[in-house]
Symmetry: C2
Subunit: 354 residues, 2 copies
């Protein structure tokens, strides 16, 4: 179809092209009536501004890239919602990519985004990303880059994340203050920083409360920390330790939900026989029976904040203003529900070896 | 940083620019060794092809737009995963937008995608979209358009969806064959087609089994069919009808999960006191207690199929081949779990008025 130009609109309304352009941009020095006439005609003629022209004039593509490990993930789906909301406010569009936890794919996606000339990139790293040349490449290309949630401390750019170590420390300390002593931890892979930090927080909480750290109470979740990890590790834990375990702190809610399922199937009562504390506050955790105590990470806030910082850096870059990299730690909170609250008439069994 | 050109690579390796270009594109008439030398150098020099040049040469942006009502939604997160997988295979990138169930926003997003020059658009309509001028505009611009899941039958383009009416009919027929007679329906808004069709399927199943349709057993979910709708409507239903209801068929799993929560809080046993049948097979439904019977919609298949068809239409358009719009109905299945299986020793109460 023929493309409509500002000139045609101007001629048809018998006003200047500048006025038309200003009206479309909503400038205040154009009368309300004129704006309405211009917009109505633009609408009627299906006028759409030529984006390539705009990009070139503005030195902007008005697109940012977002790479996450997986879209089918409650936490990331909310982060994305936060990013899209802010992008919308800045008239930006978002190219979404998922690395499926694969380093090679993540690397390829960075190249694609660079070749597409995006104005900035937000990324949460895959669990298998141990080298960061691809991120260095983005920085070398002078494209604003921000890491969120799954970050690499050594990469020199802005970062938005939570204090996993403190959050885990708080959760386990809560369990200890509740009287639980023999507390197991179902941890994530050895590599990702948040998996390491949650484990260290767990360990520190025990030590600070004079509870000996027992490596035999730490179980590794290998299937990318999913439901089955919780179910199978629970089975293994009861085989290894019988019913001597008080509570389990899990790296994600999904793991705890797998444990709840195992307990359901085997007549083990949560929390009276085994208390549980998850991490992430997935929606599921508020509706499962018993409701799961967990850590709120504020994913929407993580998405919003990450996007705000990136757009600020993009603006500064356009205006040749200096950019100071930001490290923002989003505060977490404990969400206490039934899974950690042992009923009064069923006090915590004292464990012999303490 | 300086941009690296094919010419520089060619000079450095002392081969022709054409050979470099062919090597980068992986053409077979370039020797393996040459390919390797070119790729290694391109990698070392951080060579990235200029995308605008490519777009112009190919008459392609290599980007498609995807508009969905909400990212924080298990069903859509899997559809997106399917779309991204296929886009990846076609070296395409995906701009994701969410309409938040707002027609005006959806309209604006279509304009943005058109102005960006995307090669095609996939969209699942917001519940409040009752006019389709914005979709007609896409068609008028000769941009391949495909509607999935929440479609508009009157818009002339390809569509991928499920047979909501049949799926609902099958679910309710299953409940009836199980012996349930007084079956309520918690339905969605009056507007969306899938909400209408699921209601009609429910009604038809009753009539075909000589069970009078009672409008008093149909409850409307207004909060965009979320958990609270299930909880609050369950409360209302027991106030209106006491314990005379056998079973509830809900428009989504989330509604059933809200009902389960209400029953938990009020000592009502599912399925012995009330059977439940959901829709969508959210992951949650397999881990909640009792596990929820539901309808599997195959969202990954919906995403894959939608993207495949769109990319085929984009290819045909580039080759000036004729395009035949496709209507693909993805088959659904009943997933039978505990929530619909009344225990033998507790047969279904016969209802007086039958």
């Amino acid at each position: 179809m023929r493309t409509v130009t500002l000139k045609q609109i101007a001629e048809e309304l018998n006003i200047s092209v500048t006025t038309v352009s200003k009206a479309l941009k909503g400038y205040s020095d154009v009368s309300k009536e004129t704006k309405k006439r211009v917009l109505d005609l633009a609408e009627r003629l299906d006028y759409t501004p030529n984006s390539f022209a705009v990009s070139l004039r503005m030195r902007q593509s008005k697109i940012i890239g977002v790479i996450i490990p997986d879209t089918v993930h409650y936490f990331f789906s909310i982060v994305i919602k936060g990013i899209l909301k802010v992008a919308e406010q800045h008239d930006y569009m978002v190219i979404l990519m998922q690395s499926n936890e694969k380093f090679e794919l993540e690397k390829k996606q960075i190249d694609l985004l660079l070749s597409k000339g995006v104005d900035g990139i937000l990324i949460s790293l895959s669990n298998n990303t141990k080298r960061f040349d691809h991120l260095q490449k983005v920085i070398k290309h002078d494209i604003p880059l921000l890491l969120f949630d799954k970050i690499a401390k050594t990469v020199n750019c802005s970062k938005v994340y939570i204090d996993d170590r403190k959050a885990a420390y708080d959760a386990v300390t809560y369990l200890i203050n509740k009287g639980y002593r023999r507390i197991a931890h179902f941890r994530g892979d050895l590599n990702p920083q948040n998996s390491i930090d949650r484990f260290l927080g767990y360990k520190q909480a025990l030590l600070d409360n004079n509870i000996p750290f027992d490596p035999k109470l730490v179980y590794m979740c290998n299937n990318n920390t999913d439901f089955d990890d919780g179910y199978n590790n629970a089975k293994q834990m009861f085989e290894d330790h019988g019913h001597t375990i008080d509570a389990v702190f899990t790296i994600t809610d999904l793991i705890s939900i797998g444990i709840i399922k195992y307990c359901d199937d085997n007549g083990i009562k949560v929390p009276d026989d085994l208390a549980l504390f998850g991490f992430s506050n997935w929606f599921m955790s508020s509706v499962i029976n018993p409701e799961l105590s967990t850590v709120e990470q504020h994913p929407f806030k993580i998405g919003e904040t990450s996007a705000e910082i990136l757009f600020d850096e993009i603006k500064r870059k356009l205006n040749d203003e200096p950019i100071e990299y930001k490290k923002v730690v989003i505060p977490t909170e404990l969400v206490i529900r039934k899974s950690s609250e042992k009923s009064e008439n069923n006090p915590i069994k004292k464990v012999i070896n303490l």
